[in-house]
Symmetry: D2
Subunit: 255 residues, 4 copies
Amino acid sequence: MRSIDLNCDMGESFGAWRMGADTAVMPWITSANVACGFHAGDPMTMLATVRAAADAGVAIGAHIGLPDLAGFGRRVMAVSPAELYAMSVAQLGALTAVARTANLRVGHLKPHGALYHMAEQDPALARAIVDAIRDVDSRVRLVGLAGGALVRAGDRGGLAIAHEAFADRRYLADGRLVPRGQPDAVIEDIDAAVRQAVALAVDGVVTSVDGGTVRVHADTVCVHGDRPDAAAFAQALHDGLHAAGLMLRRCGAEA
Amino acid sequence: MRSIDLNCDMGESFGAWRMGADTAVMPWITSANVACGFHAGDPMTMLATVRAAADAGVAIGAHIGLPDLAGFGRRVMAVSPAELYAMSVAQLGALTAVARTANLRVGHLKPHGALYHMAEQDPALARAIVDAIRDVDSRVRLVGLAGGALVRAGDRGGLAIAHEAFADRRYLADGRLVPRGQPDAVIEDIDAAVRQAVALAVDGVVTSVDGGTVRVHADTVCVHGDRPDAAAFAQALHDGLHAAGLMLRRCGAEA
Amino acid sequence: MRSIDLNCDMGESFGAWRMGADTAVMPWITSANVACGFHAGDPMTMLATVRAAADAGVAIGAHIGLPDLAGFGRRVMAVSPAELYAMSVAQLGALTAVARTANLRVGHLKPHGALYHMAEQDPALARAIVDAIRDVDSRVRLVGLAGGALVRAGDRGGLAIAHEAFADRRYLADGRLVPRGQPDAVIEDIDAAVRQAVALAVDGVVTSVDGGTVRVHADTVCVHGDRPDAAAFAQALHDGLHAAGLMLRRCGAEA
Amino acid sequence: MRSIDLNCDMGESFGAWRMGADTAVMPWITSANVACGFHAGDPMTMLATVRAAADAGVAIGAHIGLPDLAGFGRRVMAVSPAELYAMSVAQLGALTAVARTANLRVGHLKPHGALYHMAEQDPALARAIVDAIRDVDSRVRLVGLAGGALVRAGDRGGLAIAHEAFADRRYLADGRLVPRGQPDAVIEDIDAAVRQAVALAVDGVVTSVDGGTVRVHADTVCVHGDRPDAAAFAQALHDGLHAAGLMLRRCGAEA
């Protein structure tokens, strides 16, 4: 029986500010990417998120970001590989300790926002993330764009990796995502997004914007928690994948 | 042979700003309290500090602080026990991961600045720190004011503790420190400070400001790294304690 | 014809995080207290808030706060009068410049959260705020607790002042507020809150928690924008005060 | 009699961290670029810097930067023109208010670090800075790279401008600076730097790295305050320019 992971960004509140629909989304996913205080999150939020994940049986990962709260980690910043290495270590470590208080361990790491894309573009940054994981806890799985440079760097570095695909983002013919600025970048319709997720999970293919079929290997599908309909979207993905005969479980879980 | 630990606050630089004389002080101490990014320090500084400690054979600890960079953690803030617990976990975790990249482990934890005193005043805050250590890594030794409320809370909570005394601070008749604002709070003269350190380490006594003798049990003596003469001060303490027949080594080190 | 000001805290979003119901509340108030980036707000949010106030014909004021984003300025911090003076100047200045881009001027200043209460307790802090206003723009009106120490300090310092009362907070027999932690601190029922606002605005009295009548002079009534029903609450206050024969306008507006 | 301005970055301390040799440099310069709290500086530091400038008769300007304390504003960040506009307004406003408490006004504005170069590369960012000045205080002079895109944008926008040249940076044949990473980017020798400053101020020329003569119009010469020998450097520039017959005074000062 084939399996797939459903991941969602979680713990993106900060202080008195709320973000996301964590409680409503949590029942439908298998992995939570927890913000670590650099682009979002704070120690209290991290703790609450990890405890909620523990209660729901959801695996957790470190969602590492750029040190830019005001920009939510979405603004490209010229950080050096040495800086990124140190920031990755500190963020992974903070979440590891928080997780330990709930008897969980950090199972994966995924860069957030601008860093997700920077790691695809700059091999030295990808390598800094890989080194950080290897030096802190080499069992942590590296999650990145399916078929992309980051997961390839992780693989070369001896890490477990997970190829991430998107249910609600459209793809170009070469397997890259349609950039967010463009009008057809996001699939608003939930049914269409579920169909794309099923195609990804079952057949390893996606229909590109120009109508062709693109091969995309997906170990995990991202649930965008910042959609207004995030909870319904998560449930529909969960139910649709299940109906298609897939087992939903975190990457690397024993069969 | 009796032993004593010499500790110093380290890694208090931030970004482009330098603070302290870490390199000059490191050879003379046995334990470094490393700032964890809340009141001072940043991931790059933490990493450099841990590597320098590893090179020098100096033990490291988490110097946890209030989230107040602009105030350097010296301004009392009304944080709740729940907030302090979460902040302590995150700071200890960040340093633990940084230490792991240098094959070190965090051996102790000491609150910084205002938090050092808040933990003496408020049992719920002391308890939050104790709980954080116990839930993250119960082998971490808690360092606090000799004979004070924090180390007693740590002892009750089953933690290893270290009583901290000060070579260059004057004591009141009841064993508390003369508050920093007062004119005779600090011992400027290095020789006098060394004599006080030797009396603390060898006989467990200190002469109070009113001339009496006060019993103070000291496991570790603090070297103030923010003195203008910090390096000379550290070396004089090291040499003076050694000349008095003491072995300098980190608390808990096997004989 | 008697007049009253309705003020509400505004511009408390930060970066990607939304807070408050600014757009829905704006039509019903006469003064907006705009966060200045220390406890909440950021330059983009300040600008959007000031522009919205300009469009709605609402007066603006500087809502100055402690430098504690993670705590939303609600945690007491031991800032010195000199620090508070400098922070007040900088916050007032930032909003003054933002206002100028919309052809508005800052008409009032009100401390936020913990600072509101700290300025009541510590005369040196109240004085620091008064001095900051006087040195930057002495036409700025100081808003504080009705009959409290801050407005008295402002009055002594030659500033225009506004006594602030609360529609939805209960009062003690001595005119102080029932502290927030207590069960009967907040008036949840909108009609009851409107009745209290009318009694304050028309007769200058409020019924205290023990049933007595307390004299409270109110120049401005605070609309709590963080109530879940903030917009309905603001409209009900506006309509109720209007129906009671009051003209709603900012403090100091020419008749 | 020809005149030239000597400017230096000032007020770059933050909280407990010191930077620069402000006190030693102040007597020799005519304009201080004061950090406004985004990349460096804080309200207390801004106030102390402005008061020191007032005492020394030195003109002040807003040294605006990216919101990146940890990176000291030296890391390129993908801020939008709208964000930069709002950040420029807020920083200029904060310093304007601080200046008013010392009976000074902000006479110029200069972008710091990465922003200095970003404004040369991206016309929309240059325009955002120009618009911010015009909307807050159109008398504020815009300082930028001599002959560069920023000052040209300021000129087109109707602002007073100042072309900035560097005594201790080497120039390429096309008038641009040798990038900082390169070995010959900085002129370490003070005498050589003074000669370059005199050539700039008297003849409007500089010798490029390949030995040619490049025309560079300089209204103001930058004193790098982060050189270890900053004070001696500033004095040597002051004395050398004076000896060459130049009057040292801020740009725009009446003759």
